[in-house]
Amino acid sequence: MMIDNNMYAMLQQLRSNPMQMLSKRFNIPQNINTPQDIIQYLLNTNQVTQEDVNRAMEMRRQIFREK
């Protein structure tokens, strides 16, 4: 599979600083840096739905339960 150079650069950036990458992607302000605040910001700006959040939290709960 041929990977584009842009995609490779994005992957590298994601590995080195994932929070900065996500902040850029979703236009999250710099002062919001905790997961709870980020999720609330994404909800307030309608970038994610409540169902998305519920599903993600449920998956997180199951993952941590299995550990």
């Binding site: 990977i3 584009d4 995609m7 307030n44 599903r55």
Partner: protein, 165 residues
């Protein structure tokens, strides 16, 4: 199968198909033809937990801190205590979130439903009907008439005895 001039079969990607076509490699974008159908129909559904409407949380504090969007309401079930919570957000930042707590009480299943109903009916006082009261009144009236007749007979008898004397 004949194809229309404007219709091309869509390429199928069984494993991966991003939502945003801009993220796809340039070579794939040029090769792909875009029919009127949306690509999302060919996505394999990822395994999702069944959403029963209740979010399970370990404690009340987690429910209070749970992220809820404006104008949304989420219900929670406490895994470690018999409580249900609901968190409702207003439509603006000025309105504080509304948090409600409900206690779950298990009803006793020892008594069957029919016995409990008969007990309830026994507790109610028994009232007489109007027809019963009318019958009693009629009996009383008949007795009064009898008594008055007897009293008249007795008076007449006494008068006759006095006259004989």
């Amino acid at each position: 199968m004949a194809y229309n001039n404007n219709f091309y079969p869509q390429q199928y990607y069984p494993q991966f198909y991003p939502q945003n076509p801009q993220q796809m490699p340039i070579q794939q974008q040029s090769q792909q033809q875009m029919p009127s159908q949306t690509p999302a129909q060919f996505q394999q559904p990822s395994p999702q937990p069944i959403n029963s409407g209740l979010v399970s949380i370990p404690s009340e504090a987690d429910a209070r801190n749970y992220p809820v969007g404006y104008g949304q309401s989420v219900s929670f079930r406490d895994e470690n205590a018999p409580y249900l919570y609901t968190k409702t957000m207003g439509f603006s930042q000025l309105e504080p979130p509304k948090f409600e707590k409900y206690k779950l009480i298990k009803e006793s299943s020892d008594l069957p439903v029919k016995a409990s109903e008969s007990e309830a009916s026994n507790k109610l006082p028994s009232y007489a009907e109007k027809s019963d009261i009318e019958d009693v009144r009629a009996e009383i009236k008949a007795l009064e008439e009898k008594v008055s007749k007897l009293a008249e007979k007795k008076k007449k008898k006494e008068v006759v005895e006095d006259d004989d004397d």
